[in-house]
Every structure is written in C-alpha cells, then in structure tokens.
C-alpha cells in the first residue's frame, strides 16, 4: 500500500492541487463578486418603484392593466430566477474549472519536474562500480539545468576519485604480489628438492630477505600515502631548492653505495606545500633514478620556476622508461603512484620524459600563483647535460 502514499507525497501532486485550488479560489471570487453586486443592485434599484410608469431602455412606459404591487412581485421573481440561474451555472463552471485545472496542473507540473525524474532514474542506476553515467540534461538554461549540471560535476569528481583509488589499489596489489611471488617460488622449488644444497638455501634466504624488505618499504609508502591525506591541509611556505639541497646531502651516501654521484642544481622555487610529502616525492624519484642509473654515472636533482610553475626534476642516465607508463595502472609502481598523488595534492602534475637514446627525466610541476597558465611542456631549465640525457 505504499503506492498511493508515494503518489500523494509527490511534489507533482502537491503542485497540481495547489494550482487547482488557486484557480478555484480566483474563479470562485470572481463569480462571488459578480453575484453579490448583481444581487445588491437588482434589489436596490428596481425598474418599478412608485407610479404606473416604468422606464425600459430610457423610454417611459405606462402600466395600465396591473397594479404596481403585482408588477413589483413579477420583477422580483424574474430577478430571483436570474440570480439563482447565475449561482447554479457558477457552481457547475467552478467544478469544471477545478477539475480542468487539476489535469492541466498535473501535466504542467509533470513537464517542469521531468528532469528531476530523469535525475532520480540515473542516480538509481549508478552502481558503486560504474560512475560513468551522466544525466546529460539538454533543456533551457534554468534551475533544472544548473541542478543537473551540478549533479554531473559531482559524478565527474566521484568518478575521478574512484578511478584514482582503484588504480592505486591495483598498483599496490601488483607491487606487493611480485616480491611475494619471488619468495614463494624460491621456497617452493627448494622445498620440493631433497637434494637442494645448503648454499642454495642460503641464497634463497638472501632473496627472501631482500624481497621482504621490499615489501616492508612498500607498506611504509602506503602509510606515507595515508599520512599525506591527513596532513594535506597543513600547507606552509616551502623553498624546493632548500629541500632538495638538504636531500642531496642526506641521500649522497646511498647513491655512493651504488656508485652513482648525486648532484643538486637548485634555483629558488617557493611554493605553498607540505614539506614532508614533497620530500617523500623527491625521495621516491631519486630512489627510482638510483636503481636505473648505471654505475659511474650521475643523477641530477634540479629545481626552478617557469611561467608561474615551480619544478623539481630528477634525471638519470639509465635505460629510460616509457613516459606513458606513469599514467597506466599496474605499470607506474607504488613509489611513482605516490609521487603523482603528492604532485596532484599540491595542484600540480608529474611528467616523464625519456631521452631519444637513453635517460629519464621525471618532473614535478607545482603552481606558484593562484591561476597559472598551462603546464609547460618539455624538460625545464638548462640544467641537464647531453652526456647524461642523450637527446632529451
């Protein structure tokens, strides 16, 4: 029995009833006023009042055959009949008007509210896993189109956030599965072989240790990403140049371990940001660069500003990564995903460039002004050497 309740509770029903009542009241008032004045004036100003003379159309007519009293009675009867007829027809007309206005009101309210019904249908169809549907309202520019537009924008944002999260999860699970697979396969294969030597077990132990460390680092990164969300609000003035200069000193020993020199070429680049997260982003880029850089080469960290944007670049002379991989789920890896998240949390972007022969330059662009132009393309600054980044 919910159906009639829903029907009565609908705005369409209330609007059409309200509309009908207004039409009914106005119609009733007009007819009532007409009746009242007609009634009053016919009674107050009769045609026959004192003598045997009555005036019809301005012409005096002498009444000879009937007396004045009788003539007045006849006139009163005629007047009363006219008034009664008027009242009867008025009531019928009002009832018809009421019913008609109810129907018209129902149709008009339905037309005006159709976008709302469409929006409800779309909202109902949207599943948590598919936010790609839009209302796509194409009516005149009015309250409804603004509501539909706002709703679509909200869906757009939700869709984006949902995709980013899914991508992040895909990257994370992919990156955690790989070391797990390495550990598991090594142990499985050795465990199945009764002739496996102690040296082989020792080697497997080393592999397990390294991969367990890799997984622990990933979990640290995950926690860092979670922390980033919490602290995203606390933006302060940061000079990227100071940050990377410090970091180059801190990370120097680690670079030296793999036989790579770390150079910082920092030009002032002041932005509003979260220093902790920015350092994490640069550290992840440097980590990747150190892994890619061949022994004996150098990794460059540069900062600077260009056209309303501040940039941090980490460049290496490794094999060079596919720039498109940064935007593909499963290929970017957790570390790079976090860098991207951090750049985007600062209103910026992460761009990858590959040398025509070798070398990779990863650039984080962060706006320094409220309304910067488009993100500059290409590798910023003169701070790269052809020897390191061939053909960039």
């Amino acid at each position: 029995m919910t159906r009639p309740i829903v029907f009565v509770r609908s705005i369409r029903f209330r609007l059409s009833v309200l509309y009908s009542l207004v039409v009914f009241a106005l119609g009733g008032a007009i007819l009532g006023v007409a009746y009242y004045f007609l009634h009053r004036n016919l009674r107050r100003l009769p045609l026959i009042f004192d003598s045997r003379v009555m005036t019809i159309n301005g012409r005096p007519i002498i009444i000879q055959d009937i007396d004045v009293d009788t003539a007045q009675l006849v006139e009163q009867a005629i007047t009363q009949r006219a008034l009664d007829l008027l009242a009867d027809y008025s009531i019928v007309a009002l009832i018809v008007l009421f019913l008609l206005s109810l129907v018209v009101g129902w149709i008009i309210a339905g037309r005006a509210l159709r976008p709302v019904a469409d929006m409800t249908a779309v909202a109902r169809e949207i599943q948590a896993s598919d936010l790609s549907r839009r209302i796509g309202y194409s009516g005149p520019e009015d309250e409804m189109s603004r509501l539909a537009g706002t709703f679509d924008e909200m869906l757009e944002r939700l869709d984006g956030a949902f995709h980013a999260q899914r991508r992040f999860l895909a990257d994370t699970s992919h990156d955690l599965r790989t070391p797990l697979a390495v550990i598991r396969s090594n142990i499985d294969v050795l465990a199945a072989d009764p002739e496996a030597s102690l040296d082989e077990w020792r080697e497997a132990g080393g592999i397990v240790q390294r991969n367990a460390e890799r997984m622990a680092e990933m979990i640290d990164d995950l926690l860092a990403a979670a922390r980033l969300e919490v602290r995203a609000a606390a933006m302060v003035q940061v000079d990227l140049a100071e940050q990377v200069t410090e970091m180059a000193v801190e990370l120097g020993p680690r670079a030296a371990e793999v036989g790579v020199a770390l150079e910082a070429r920092a030009q002032p680049a002041r932005i509003d940001g979260v220093p902790h997260s920015l350092r994490r982003a640069v550290a992840n880029l440097v980590d990747n660069a150190l892994k890619a850089a061949p022994s004996g080469s150098s990794v460059l960290i540069g900062t600077g500003t260009l056209d309303g944007w501040a940039w941090v670049m980490v460049a290496d002379g490794g094999e060079g990564i596919d720039p498109a991989a940064v935007d593909q789920p499963g290929r970017a890896g957790l570390g790079l995903s976090i860098v991207k998240e951090i750049a985007e949390a600062h209103g910026g972007v992460l761009a990858a460039h590959r040398g025509s022969e070798r070398g990779t330059a990863m650039v984080i662009w962060i706006p320094t002004v409220a309304d910067p132009g488009p993100v500059p393309t290409g590798v910023p600054g003169p701070a790269h050497e052809p020897a390191r980044l061939q053909g960039l």
């Binding site: 699970s173 990156d175 598991r184 396969s185 294969v189 199945a192």
Partner: protein
C-alpha cells in the same frame, strides 16, 4: 619439452627455471620483451610462460603477436601461460582473448604451476595424463616410466627424451628437432649429446629395439 620463461624479476625467473628443469623440461629465460621475441624466432618452444609487465613492453602484445603470426616464431606456435600479478577479471579476459592458453596469478604455489605446465603440454601429447606406447608407460606428473611394468631408472634428460619420443610415436625425429625440444639454449648444437643420450636411454630399456635409428634422418619410436 622446451619452455621459455619471460620474466623480468631475475630471482623469480631463476627459481622457476630450476624447478621446471627438475620436472624434466628444457628451460630458457628472457628478462625483456625484445629478448623474448628474439628467442621465439630463433628456437622452437613448446610452451611460453609469459609475464604481463615487462620493462620494454607487454606480455599480452607478445602473446597476440605469436597468435596472429605477426611474430614469425620458429616452428609451431607454442602454448602460452600468462604469469602475472594482475588479477582483475578484465585482465584475465584480456590475456586469454589475446591467445593465452592459461592464466596464473602471482603469487602461486609452484606445484600448481608445474601441474598447469603438464596440463598444457599434455594437450600436445593427445590429452592423456599418462602416455602409453606399446609396453612403455610414462607418467610425467609422477616422473615415472615403466616398460613391461618394470620401472626404468632414468635421468631427467633421458626421461624428457623418452617423453618426447612417446609424444610423437612412429615419427622420425631428427637430431636437430630433439635438440630443439628436449635441450635448452645452453646445449651446444655441434656436440653429440643427442646421440649419447639416446644410446644411454636405449641401454636402460629392457628392449632397446623400440628406439630405432633411421640412417641419415634420425630416430624413431617403433609402434608395435
């Protein structure tokens, strides 16, 4: 049977290669898409274990290229087992539609991988888990071979050689073909390793005449 493992995690590739060699397969590895393509055009493989994300390309693309013939593989098209950390249903469908014969999500139990490898190679043997030719019986899963119900004491290489003979009964198999499918890329094509192994296998058989030499052509498992 000869297998190619395409996997960029060196520590994973070497563990799998070791395990599958113990199962009696000839195993090569490739760490990049370009290395894999090079190996596929220069040697005949029965099965390729293919990782999805490679540093210089995608395993799915290799799989597609093998199936459409865009990559002119050596010999017959190998079967493909996708080995990846991507576990989305969409990804599995994409991999299988690209022509993969099977799909295994990392991390997996090695015994499952070995069983799937056997299952895929079995399709080539004619679909039976245990091969029987005359009085010879070979069970790849248990690594057991018998003749007249007497167990044969074979080395891994002799076992795979017998397996290959039994998968192609009555067919004359050249030394080159045996080298191609039973040995991996480390085998020197100019050695007499095939001749020596065939002769060792014959010695262990109760009835050596089941493997006959076809002069100038190769060897054949006689079907009684």
């Amino acid at each position: 049977m000869r297998l190619l493992i395409v996997e960029d995690e060196a520590e994973l590739a070497s563990a799998l290669a070791r395990g599958l060699r113990r199962e009696g397969h000839a195993v090569d590895t490739a760490a990049t898409a370009s290395a894999a393509e090079l190996k596929l055009v220069s040697a005949g493989y029965d099965l390729v274990l293919l990782d999805w994300n490679l540093p210089d390309g995608s395993g799915v693309e290799i799989c597609r290229a093998v199936n459409t013939g865009d990559l002119a593989v050596f010999g017959e098209k190998p079967r493909v087992l996708m080995l990846t950390a991507r576990d989305d249903v969409d990804d599995r469908v994409l991999g299988l539609d690209a022509g993969a014969d099977d799909y295994l999500v990392k991390p997996f139990a090695f015994v499952e991988l070995a069983a799937r490898v056997r299952a895929l190679l079995r399709r080539e043997d004619g679909g039976t888990p245990v091969l029987t030719v005359g009085t010879l019986r070979l069970d790849p899963a248990r690594f057991e071979a018998t003749q007249d119900q007497n167990p044969l004491d074979l080395t891994a290489k002799e076992f795979s050689l017998l397996h290959y003979f039994m998968a192609h009964p009555g067919v004359v198999l050249s030394q080159e073909r045996l080298l191609e499918h039973v040995w991996d890329e480390m085998a020197d094509p100019f050695t007499n390793v095939v001749r020596v192994t065939v002769s060792n296998l014959r010695k262990k058989l109760a009835d050596p005449s089941v493997i006959e030499t076809v002069p100038g052509r190769g060897y054949r498992l006689v079907v009684v």
